[in-house]
């Protein structure tokens, strides 16, 4: 079977698993919503755009860590070994990555709806903000999938995942925060084009590196 | 403890340089130009780099002496 067809059948498996044990998706969603409520109780409404913007990204960052930690962490050792014997490592990575990207997009956008409903939506250029949200969530999901794979090789604890993950996703997060802030300020596409490009390039680089390096990580 | 002492020594050394009088320019000029303070920055920066190198050397030395002890023990 080719890598792409393997990827799709593995992706289907991820969704099936999700259907059986619903806590994974709803757990992270609950985390997101309760964090937004905490923000609501402590801030009421946020007038300052930089604060509004970075608070949402910080919330999303922690949601991404909790969400992505499940991708390799939740699998038992036996199941990983089974996957190793039947599937191409690249297909395993791509399926997990795709699943995480979809998860993060759903979380990011539903979270944004809650967040703007409760705390306010001071964004002037909505399409650009959505593009920033899309690129940022995709990047977070891809980076944390790979980091989760690395952490799963090292005793798999959540602290290690955070220590390894934060420095790696920080440049991505900084660029995403900048683009979404420009969008909120309504500065237009020309101003944020550089950052948008860097953000897109970083996504590609992370995906490419993960794709190339994962086979080395996978074999035991 | 020794690391701490060496650091302390360097800080004392660096701060004692504050007390040295200006050579050619008067005090008021130095204050207005930060000339004195800016030269001190160079001295402190160099002291810190030297301290870093000394700490590294010290750590290498400890590793070597531990290795020496091990080899001696095994040879007996």
């Amino acid at each position: 079977m080719s890598v792409s067809s393997q990827t799709f059948s593995l992706l289907k498996r991820e969704f099936l698993q999700e259907q059986r044990q619903k806590y994974a998706f709803f757990g992270v969603l609950l985390f997101l919503v309760s964090t937004i409520f905490i923000a609501k109780f402590s801030f009421h409404t946020i007038k300052s755009i930089p604060v509004w913007n970075s608070l949402y990204w910080v919330i999303l960052l922690f949601a991404a860590v909790t969400g992505a930690a499940k991708s390799f962490g939740a699998e038992s050792k036996g199941r990983l070994l089974y996957l190793y014997t039947i599937a191409d490592p690249k297909a395993v990575l791509l399926s997990k990555m795709l699943y995480n990207v979809l998860l993060m997009l759903v979380l990011g956008f539903t979270g944004m709806i809650f967040y703007s409903f409760l705390i306010g939506f001071p964004v002037q250029d909505t399409p650009m903000f959505l593009v920033a949200l899309f690129l940022g969530s995709t990047g977070l999901a891809c980076a944390f999938t790979m980091i989760s794979a690395i952490a799963s090789k090292a005793g798999n604890n959540f602290t290690l995942m955070a220590i390894l993950g934060f420095p790696v996703v920080l440049p991505l997060l900084l660029a995403a925060i900048k683009v979404s802030k420009y969008a909120a300020d309504g500065l237009g596409w020309a101003v944020s084009m550089d950052y948008m490009l860097v953000l897109g390039m970083m996504n590609l680089v992370i995906i490419a590196l993960a794709y190339l390096l994962f086979p080395y990580l996978w074999r035991d | 403890m020794k690391k701490f002492l060496s650091l302390l020594l360097i800080i004392v050394f660096a701060s004692s340089l504050n007390a040295q009088p200006a050579q050619t320019l008067d005090e008021k000029l130095f204050q207005s130009l930060h000339g004195h303070a800016s030269l001190n920055a160079v001295i402190v920066v160099m002291s810190i780099i030297l301290a870093g190198i000394f700490i590294t050397l010290w750590r290498i030395e400890r590793k070597v002496s531990r290795l020496e002890k091990d080899i001696q023990k095994d040879n007996k």
């Binding site: 220590i163 790696v168 920080l170 | 008067d26 930060h34 810190i48 780099i49 870093g52």
Partner: protein
């Protein structure tokens, strides 16, 4: 002896850096020691100037001072009608009333034969913008455009601390050189699975972290003097701090895995990620528009242009960088040899 030639070169380069970096004087320069707002077209005024490393008194005969006002990109010189030189570094200039032409800013130039022309951009300005009257124009003839001996440029804010260029900046070059060597060894390791490469990469990274920490501390000291804060909002500063966090995370990861082969593989992969992120953090992000950076060459400016690094700084700077990089590799090679002896001894 043949293998150690570069260590002698390293020592020679560092000696050169120390001697020339500290011995070379800072070029003469001038500062204003009075109010920089002047009344336009009404009253005569006086300017008190401070010299730095200047020889006003020695060269009193050739002393001259004039203001430059720009009239549609054409300079208009306004000479001081009298001046009094108190000592080598203090002088007082008096001017006739001036009228404001195209620009409300006046540049100040002071000349003597020994120091050359000392220039101060936008030294004074006038709040008044009335045009009219004739300025006491003068033609200035100059013998020496610049002073004749070798000196580092005079920069306000930096002053003497410009010498830190040879001590603070090479720390980063050293760190990046060692990290690049580690990256290369990580890549080779993933090709050949030779533990030698893993050993090299790990030792290079621990040495690089030492240099990175030194760079952060020295940068903080320099920032306190020049930017008046220990830790500013500078992209490059925060970027390097995050890079250090990534490589510290690498060391944590290394301690978390017991199996040697697996540890080498996993950490190699993580350090490749960390290297790429470092390139983005300190190579790409600071160069974009709209970032707050006080470092030269950032926030959209080209890096290390002739304004930041002039011809007197350049030779010393390059030699300093080469010297510190070699010192980094020297420390690295010592650590590596100890590791090898330990491995060899344990396997016996």
């Amino acid at each position: 002896m043949k293998r150690n030639w570069w260590k002698f070169l390293c020592a020679a380069f560092l000696f050169f850096t120390l001697i020339f970096g500290l011995k070379t004087p800072v070029a003469p320069g001038i500062l204003l020691n009075c109010n920089s707002i002047i009344p336009a077209y009404s009253a005569p005024f006086k300017l008190e100037i401070l010299g730095y490393n200047t020889r006003f008194l020695q060269q009193k005969n050739s002393f001259r001072a004039w203001l430059i006002n720009w009239d549609k990109n054409k300079p208009v010189h306004i000479c001081a009608n009298s001046f009094s030189v108190k000592d080598d570094t203090h002088a007082e200039l008096s001017f006739q009333p001036v009228s404001v032409l195209d620009s409300m800013f006046f540049d100040l130039a002071v000349y003597n034969d020994a120091d050359g022309k000392l220039y101060m951009d936008h030294a004074i300005y006038s709040t008044d913008t009335i045009r009219g009257g004739m300025d006491p124009m003068c033609n200035v003839t100059i013998k020496n455009e610049k002073q004749d001996h070798f000196a580092f440029p005079f920069r306000t804010v930096l002053y003497e601390s410009i010498r830190n260029l040879f001590f603070h900046v090479p720390m980063w070059f050293s760190m990046i050189a060692l990290l690049s060597w580690a990256l290369w060894n990580n890549l080779v390791f993933l090709r050949k699975f030779d533990m030698k490469n893993d050993q090299r990469a790990n030792t290079a990274i621990t040495t690089a972290v030492t240099f990175g920490v030194l760079g952060l501390i020295t940068g903080s000291i320099w920032a306190r003097i020049t930017w008046l804060e220990w830790w500013g909002d500078d992209v490059k500063l925060n970027g390097t701090a995050i890079t250090m966090l990534a490589y510290l995370a690498y060391l944590v990861l290394r301690n978390a895995i017991d199996d040697e082969q697996k540890r080498a593989r996993v950490t190699a992969i993580y350090s490749i990620f960390a290297y790429v992120m470092m390139i983005v953090l300190i190579g790409v992000l600071p160069r974009l528009q709209g970032t707050d950076s006080l470092h030269p060459g950032n926030g959209g400016n080209p890096g290390f242009n002739q304004y930041d690094l002039d011809n007197t700084l350049r030779p010393v700077f390059y030699i300093a960088v080469a010297g510190w990089i070699m010192l980094g590799f020297w420390i690295y090679s010592l650590k590596l040899r100890i590791q090898n002896i330990k491995l060899h001894h344990n396997s016996q």
